[in-house]
């Protein structure tokens, strides 16, 4: 009996186009260059601070994990635009009437996304090898982690195709000027990227932010002979069941109801379970009314929820560590909701940008519409979400919920007003708005990451210069970052429940406690300044131009 392997034709088609695309080849080499950069940085660090990886330990693993997750976002982008793009190009109906099954279509699209990103993850073996050679990794970790990454790629690709298979509508609640211009592909991309960024980047980031800062303070005290300890919170390791970066940071075994299980195995299992769930839901979407496919997805969801609840009940101690974690994740997620619609503006065609500009100028000419455009749209949506979420946050955080809500609303409105005015004054409003949003995101990320990295460096090599830089960043940069300021506030006020934060509370002092006040004042001032700043004359209708041209 002979057996012949039959390649998925849709996978072959996409692969064929990719391999012939010269631009893709160029982008690929850029990718190689970018992904090789960490290896160079790690080598330099090893050269400058011999043995640094052995001392920093798991934080390097986490950094590598987040890097791998950033690469996995490529899979999300490819998958999320796959089927929705077929619909927009009118090729989906051609497939629909052919004998290709929804399962085959789903798998073809998901496999291509996984293929694309797995090549990049193999490239990440280079920095991993550097850390291995300097004693940071064991060889088994390198091998097993590739299995974990493959499972995670399947999950994000499956999620992306599922989102892509949905019949998207252009959101009317997003930025009012965007609702006529965004394409369904962009909407699908934003949805999938939003969820993936939350799970792949923010989740591991916050899982380690608190213990890192607490550990840094403890290390600082240890360095001065006052004792202290350096440990991550073991209960956060359970986040590794869905996030491979956390798995790498907490590499080892976890105890579930008295049974020791390798964490990587749990991650692979959960990722495959969730990938299967999205597969079933996606096939159900493609079939229209297929109850069997949806039932399969619901069964997977039920299995995962049961497993997660069992893990939480069996292993989580108090709720103290979960509070700041949930609040931080939620707030950053809200910021993403505000800013991601802005990011897509730069991708609009010239005709769409023209429409965008016309509406923007029309808004500027009417005080009522100007006011509405500033507080409605994305920022209005954010305020609404905060109002809904605050009672729940109150249950979780007590009166600190008001701190979170106030910081979120004030800083979002301030940023929104700045962005709007920046667009009005620019010659090419949409492109400028996109650049502005990218700039804000970059500032938020950098002003959160830099203090954390400095704290890590301070712990590893507590030289006077590094210690000063770390303290300055904590006192000056963090209060201007709404996300970080909320964290600091929560950490210093809820520290009673978190033993590891005792040291940090002593270190951060009043700056940390009042960071959120400084943040609110700063963003309120920005918002007011932006609202009162005069518009450029070019945007107003002139005598030379007929009114219709504006």
């Amino acid at each position: 009996m002979s057996w012949k392997f039959d390649w998925n034709p849709l996978f072959l088609k996409d692969l064929r186009v990719l391999l012939r695309d010269r631009k893709a080849e160029r982008r690929g080499w850029w990718g190689v260059a970018v992904l090789s950069a960490p290896a160079v940085v790690l080598l330099a660090l090893q050269f400058a601070f011999p043995g640094i990886f052995a001392r920093v330990g798991r934080y390097v693993l986490l950094g590598y994990g987040i890097l791998a997750n950033v690469a996995a976002l490529g899979a999300v982008a490819i998958a999320a635009t796959s089927i929705v793009a077929e619909r927009e190009k009118n090729t989906y109906e051609v497939l629909q009437v052919s004998p290709v099954t929804p399962e085959r279509l789903f798998l073809g699209k998901a496999l291509f996304a996984v293929y694309g990103v797995f090549v990049r993850q193999i490239l990440l073996l280079v920095p991993m090898a550097v850390v291995y050679l300097s004693g940071g990794f064991s060889f088994s970790v390198i091998l097993l982690y590739q299995v974990v990454l493959l499972a995670a790629d399947l999950l994000v690709a499956s999620l992306g195709v599922y989102v892509s298979a949905q019949p998207h509508r252009i959101p009317k609640i997003a930025l009012s000027a965007l609702k006529h211009s965004a394409t369904r592909t962009q909407v699908a991309l934003q949805k999938a990227m939003g969820v993936s960024v939350l799970f792949l980047i923010l989740l591991p980031f916050y899982a380690v932010l608190i213990p890192t800062m607490a550990g840094a303070a403890a290390a600082s005290r240890a360095a001065t002979g006052r004792g202290g300890r350096l440990e991550m919170m073991p209960d956060l390791s359970l986040l590794g069941t869905i996030c491979p970066a956390v798995t790498l940071a907490f590499w080892g075994e976890v105890e579930i109801f008295g049974l020791s299980v390798p964490l990587w195995l749990l991650t692979v299992g959960c990722n495959l379970l969730l990938a299967t769930m999205f597969f079933h839901f996606g096939v159900g979407q493609l079939r229209g009314r297929d109850r069997d496919a949806s039932l399969g997805g619901r069964a997977c969801l039920l299995a995962f929820v049961t497993f997660a609840v069992a893990l939480l009940c069996g292993n989580l101690g108090g709720a103290g560590t979960a509070g700041p974690f949930v609040a931080g994740c939620g707030m950053t997620f809200l910021f993403c909701i505000v800013l991601t619609p802005c990011l897509s503006v730069g991708e609009l065609t010239k005709a769409e940008q023209k429409g965008f500009r016309a509406e923007w100028v029309a808004n500027s000419l009417s005080p009522r519409r100007l006011l509405r455009s500033r507080v409605s749209g994305a920022s209005g949506f954010l305020v609404l979400l905060v109002l809904v979420a605050t009672p729940f946050l109150w249950l979780l955080l007590g009166r600190e919920a008001l701190t979170v809500a106030a910081t979120t609303v004030v800083s979002a409105l301030g940023l929104s007003a700045l962005g709007n005015r920046s667009s009005q004054n620019a010659k090419d409003a949409p492109a400028n708005k996109g650049a502005f949003a990218a700039f804000v995101v970059l500032i938020l990320i950098v002003s959160t990451i830099v203090p954390v990295l400095l704290q890590v460096a301070k712990k590893a090599t507590p030289t006077p210069a590094v210690v000063t830089a770390a303290d300055v960043s904590l006192a000056a940069v963090v209060p201007l970052n709404p996300v970080a300021s909320v964290f600091l506030r929560l950490m210093t006020t809820m520290g009673e429940d978190i033993a590891q934060l005792d040291d940090l509370r002593g270190e951060a002092g009043p700056t940390a406690r009042h960071a959120w006040v400084i943040t609110c004042a700063w963003y309120a001032a920005i918002g007011l300044l932006a609202a009162l700043w005069p518009r450029k004359r070019e945007e107003k209708p002139t005598a030379a131009a007929p009114p219709s041209s504006t």
């Binding site: 034709p9 064929r16 186009v17 077929e86 009118n90 109906e93 052919s98 004998p99």
Partner: protein, 318 residues
């Protein structure tokens, strides 16, 4: 080959199909005509199993489309009005992709692709990028793709709507060749003239109702049973009028200056005799024209708003 019984489809308040019935025999080219919004595309999409009907039965090659859509898809080729092509593929790659999707045996795959390219006159373009093809070539390429798995039934939804006259003629030639190969073709269009040249039978659809079914001749006869004869003379028409008055088949004769008009209810064989009588009466006949009814006028008459006339279909299509 295609049997449709009592097909109904509603979109909210709008009744797109109000219980239509059709019967199309094997090897037939069947024209499906109607103005925009008449329900042509909805019918074809239901036949192609892309869309579900609210009521009614659809059978393609004897298979119930609602119960076994996969089997139906394997037997038909559907060419929607608007479709997308993978612009970044080569012509042969596109056909190779769909031959795999349609599970054409690897042993005959290359032969099938070559045959389809030859039939649609695209052999020379097989290594060209699709984005570089003209509109007509794209249409032929999509037709080639539709034929790859050798379907017995072809559903074509306004396939020539965006083509220039030359490309339309070429497309019609391909359809004639497909008919010779035994394919059953359902061709939807809103241009009656082009269908009349190729189709064996047509159905005229208006607001979800089939107004007429049959050959072009049958429909013409049903709508205009008595052709009008127009004679242009080089002498006064009054003399000629006297000569033909009272002749068998001549009805309602009218003379206006040098032109003569009358309705003809006799047989075709009787017409030369009328012509001879005119000549014998001394009338100087410049032209003699039998107007059996302009197709476009008949079509407009059937599909005009408020028209409630329904032409009874012939017995075999009822």
């Amino acid at each position: 080959m295609i049997e449709v019984r009592g097909l109904r489809k509603r979109y909210g308040e709008l009744e797109a199909l109000a219980g239509i019935s059709l019967s199309i025999g094997a090897g037939e080219i069947f024209g499906y005509i109607g103005p925009n919004g008449a329900g042509k595309t909805t019918t074809l999409r239901i036949l192609a199993t892309v869309q579900d009907a609210d009521e009614g039965d659809v059978r393609v090659a004897g298979i119930d489309a609602a119960r076994d859509p996969e089997a139906v898809r394997g037997r038909l080729g559907f060419m929607p009005e608007t479709y997308g092509l993978y612009e970044d593929l080569l012509v042969w790659e596109y056909l190779d992709l769909f031959s795999r999707i349609y599970e054409v045996s690897p042993a005959i795959r290359q032969r099938a692709i070559a045959d389809c390219l030859e039939l649609t006159d695209l052999t020379e373009k097989k290594d060209a990028l699709i984005e570089h093809l003209s509109r007509g070539m794209r249409q032929r390429l999509f037709l080639a793709k539709t034929l790859l798995h050798d379907p017995t039934v072809l559903l074509l939804d306004e396939p020539t709507s965006a083509l220039d006259p030359r490309a339309r003629v070429e497309f019609q030639e391909i359809l004639r060749e497909l008919k010779r190969r035994g394919k059953t073709i359902l061709w939807s269009s809103h241009i009656l003239g082009e269908l009349a040249e190729v189709c064996d039978r047509v159905a005229i659809l208006e607001r979800g109702v089939v107004k007429a079914t049959g050959t072009i001749g049958e429909i013409r006869a049903a709508l205009r049973p008595r052709p009008e004869v127009r004679v242009t003379l080089l002498s006064p028409a009054l003399e000629a009028l006297k000569a033909i008055e009272g002749l068998a088949g001549v009805e309602d004769p009218r003379a206006e200056g040098e032109s003569l008009r009358f309705l003809w209810s006799g047989s075709r064989e009787g017409m030369p005799e009328t012509h001879r009588r005119l000549i014998e009466s001394g009338a100087r006949v410049f032209s003699f024209f039998v107007d059996e009814g302009n197709l476009q006028d008949l079509y407009l008459r059937l599909t005009s708003s408020g028209e409630s006339e329904v032409v009874q279909p012939p017995p075999e299509a009822s």
